[in-house]
Amino acid sequence: MAAEAVLKKKDLKSDQEVRWCPGCGDYAILNCVQGVMADLGVKRENMMFVSGIGCSSRFPYYMNTYGFHSIHGRAPAFATGIKVSNPELSVWLVTGDGDGLSIGGNHMIHVLRRNLDINILLFNNEIYGLTKGQYSPTSRLGLKTKATPFGSLDYPFNPISLALGAGATFVARTVDTNLKHMAGILEAAAAHKGTSFIEIFQNCVIFNDKVFDSVSDKKVRDERMVDLVPGEKIVYGNDHEKGLRLDGYHLEQCSADEAGVWDPSTPTAGPSMLFADIDRDATLPTPIGIFRQVERPRFEEGVHAQIDHVTETKGPGKLEDLIYTADTWKVD
């Protein structure tokens, strides 16, 4: 599957002017994605970016690949049609917290359960950027926005928990300010056979600036975030001196030595959920990295296997046979 001519990052930049606000976290993500994609060994003509509507959803215009900027919230359905129709394509879905979890929440959970081999990047800025700053389903309680001048009353989704509940097979989180981490997650997602769901903490400088800073700011992030790496100990801290482990049904902080080893592929999603539900405001560090990674049959695989199987047993369909069945009669 290696590309014939080696792709360069710049080959993936389209001729369209990138039009996000100066300072928007989207730029970093675009940059990182272009880098990772160039190295995937996928031919450019087999790359497909699908999105809904939102600032984040303008993403496909900036990728010099095939792209579909669809309608608000529906990208998972488009991606499904595209991937099932052509399983050869490397399909990437870009969406926002509004696009993917508000209007598009249903398609999102359904694509996760169906487990098509696509990669979903959810740019979570906890706000509606494109429509100029209303609260989203991930906005914190009490957030004052144009639509909630006295504070939001909607308890937010935790995108990771939601994905786990929907039965997702690959669930991860990364941050727009840590491109090395992001690249690693993108690569793991690309390698995963099945739907990969990646929540990216993304800063919207205009309408929700610094909302993740309490955990993701470079100054505090080592202390306030913990990277879940499959097969490795769950440690964090400036000197990797702290860890997390299970105490009965709860997580607790411990020393690095006592830390548990992370296994994102337990039979149930219960353990992943323990970590997912750690809130940014909690004393425990906010987990990033891979929350869950399990194997399960892919939808498009099943579809084509069934087609092949039926074609094998019945023989390739002949239109004439379908029309001229046994129950015919002749009029002269």
Binding site: K43, F49, G67, I71, T80, S85, H107
Partner: protein, 621 residues
């Protein structure tokens, strides 16, 4: 137990040209199977025919109640017919509820066969009756044949190993046998069908076959009939190979045929909804055609997946009914904007809202033509009967692929579940319209929104090197397709999209009329009313009226030549199962002509006599 002497051979045998029978019973009585078997046999005999089931509302109501009544009407004939018939000649009623619900439709002097075995106190109560309709004068003016079918079946099957409950389930074949006798039909097709159907349970084969024969041979009942009838094969049908077909079946075949003719694989995104679900069910069988069927989480996902599939180079389709179309509206607008082929089927049902899901209506025409935000023109075509649905399916694919456009195909509950003989197409005469994918850059750069002489843009699918491009719902620059907010460009693109759709008119034939080339009245219909209009108008014509009739397949754009055609008649009568939707379209397109709306909104098709009477009333004025 082979039959030696034809029972009742001594009774007079009368020839009839056409007969309408309605079988009616409880949902659990197997009336649909009975009707279908009678239909197959009529087809086997060579009759022209048309059928219409009358399902109860979606959920099975409690046994024996009025809402639980299931009916099946068949019209079979030795001449060319167009509808399942207005009033039945014969009503077979398996219980009191079936009797009271249907008796009003029976022709004066018609025959009613009643299963008295189900007229006990309890049965009457379930049907909310205090006195038996057999005794209260309800049946006055009809010829009543009373048979205790319950008992007769039990008697006929004393030797069967089936349980008494299972034995009672053979009642419908007893009834069928009886009707076969009355109309001198052969038993073989049904005997064969039973043998195949229950191949794994010989006891069932045996019991049902026995019941069928017992009904056929029931000598004492035969005497109650004043004779037997014969409806000879129809000789008016054009020569060819025929098959009986339901509208939904024909449409599904047309859709798969259309994809084949385009050289494409079909991708159906669908969400179940009455009465469109059978299209999904049937297309799901065609896996060996490479057809992909995807039952989506809702109607929106269904159309979006289909449009995604079209982007990928499949022929995307989606099938639904009114409430589903409502949900697809936004995505339809996107399909208009990105200019990809997409076939959208609306099997109409009675509205508004959930309405009456099992009843027929033609109330979604204006929604189809104009029901989107922005200027979002799409072509709209409609099937006129079960057999026509095949051609319409193919035509939809042609237009979608040749013009890179979404298209709305209208069918309705009446067409979908009604059946009639279908003259099978000659395979090499099916229209060809192979989809042409762009495979490489022609000229400097690939322009995904450049246009050919018909105003159609090229189709380039992912996986093709060098043609990488992006589409979306924002306004596009003419040619490049880049996002563009320029004022003149927007106006130009709006006109280009509109013109492209109007250009389809060039590929549509002019209408042909039945009847005089000019005269007092033209009856113009669309969709599933064709049969009634054709018969009703023909009858009026036979009675000397100066009236012609014609029928629209293409609702948008309309076929060429209409202005001239309309000018040849003093008035144009437009019968519709709505409040006058086509009538509105025609008035706004041709204000110079005189259109008269004939509206019926009862969840029921037109009867031929209604059309005939309306014509006469108008011409008398």
């Amino acid at each position: 137990m082979t039959q030696t002497k034809e029972p009742g051979a001594d009774l007079p045998l009368q020839q009839q040209e056409k007969v309408v029978i309605r079988f009616a019973g409880d949902s659990g009585d197997g009336m649909q199977i009975t009707g279908n078997q009678f239909t197959s046999t009529a087809a086997f005999v060579g009759n022209d025919l048309a059928t219409l089931p009358d399902f109860p509302a979606e959920i099975r109501a409690p046994a024996g109640t009025r809402p639980g009544v299931s009916g099946f009407q068949i019209h079979f004939s030795s001449s060319d017919i167009h509808t399942p018939g207005d009033a039945p000649d014969v009503l077979v009623a398996m219980n009191p509820a079936a009797l009271v619900v249907n008796i009003g439709d029976l022709k004066a002097g018609g025959i009613v066969v009643v299963n008295t075995g189900n007229f006990g106190k309890n049965d009457l109560k379930k049907a909310r009756l205090e006195v038996s309709p057999l005794e209260d004068g309800t049946l006055q003016g009809f010829r009543v044949i009373e048979v205790d079918i319950n008992k007769r079946v039990a008697d006929a099957l004393t030797e069967s190993e089936l349980s008494p409950k299972e034995i009672q389930r053979c009642k419908n074949f007893y009834t069928l046998g009886l009707m076969y006798w009355v109309y001198s039909r052969p038993l073989e097709p049904t005997l064969d069908w039973l043998a195949a159907k229950f191949a794994k349970r010989p006891a069932l084969v045996d019991a049902n076959q026995t019941a069928l024969r017992a009904g056929f041979n029931a000598g004492d009942i035969h005497e109650m009939f004043q004779g037997r009838y014969e409806v000879p094969a129809c000789t008016e049908l054009p020569a060819g190979i025929y098959r009986n077909i339901l509208g939904n079946q024909a449409l599904a075949l047309g859709m798969i045929a259309g994809a084949e003719q385009a050289g494409l694989k079909l991708f159906l995104g669908a969400y179940p909804i009455t009465p469109a679900s059978d299209l999904l069910h049937q297309l799901a069988l065609y896996k060996n055609f490479g057809a992909i069927t995807f039952q989506a989480e809702d109607e929106i996902a269904a159309i979006c997946a289909a449009l995604g599939a079209s982007f990928s180079g499949k022929l995307g389709m989606t099938t639904t009914s009114g409430p589903g179309v409502a949900l697809k509206t936004e995505a339809l607008g996107l399909a208009v904007s990105v200019e990809l082929p997409l076939v959208v089927v609306n099997v109409q049902r009675a509205g508004p809202s959930t309405g009456m899901p099992t009843k027929v209506e033609q109330t979604d025409l204006l929604q189809s033509i104009w029901g989107r935000n922005g200027e979002a023109p799409i072509p709209v075509i409609a099937a006129s009967c079960a057999a026509d649905a095949f051609d319409v399916g193919v035509e939809a694919c042609r237009i979608a692929v040749e013009y890179m456009t979404p298209i709305m195909v209208l069918s309705d509950n009446y067409i979908a579940n009604g059946s009639e003989p279908w003259k099978l197409p000659e395979m090499d005469k099916l229209p060809k319209f192979t989809a042409k994918f762009r495979t490489h850059v022609e000229g400097e750069t690939f322009l995904p929104f450049a246009r050919d002489e018909n105003g159609v843009r090229p189709w380039a699918k992912p996986g093709t090197p060098g043609l990488e491009h992006r589409v979306g719902g924002l306004e596009k620059e003419d040619g490049t397709g880049n996002v563009c907010y320029d004022a003149e460009n927007h106006e130009k693109m709006t006109h280009l999209r509109q013109e492209k759709v109007m250009n389809i008119q060039r590929s549509i034939p002019e209408l042909e009329v039945e009847g005089p080339e000019s005269g007092d009245l033209l009856v113009l219909g669309w969709g599933g009313t064709k049969g009634s209009i054709t018969s009703g108008t023909a009858r009026a014509r036979e009675d000397g009226a100066s009236v012609a009739n014609t029928h629209l397949r293409h609702l948008w754009p309309l076929p060429p030549g209409l202005d001239e055609l309309f000018g040849r008649y003093k008035a144009i009568l437009v019968p519709e199962l709505n409040m006058g939707q086509l009538w509105r379209v025609l008035r706004s397109e041709f204000p110079q002509h005189n259109f008269i709306s004939y509206s019926k909104v009862q969840g029921k098709p037109f009867m031929s006599f209604e059309i005939e009477n309306r014509i006469k009333t108008i011409l008398e004025q």
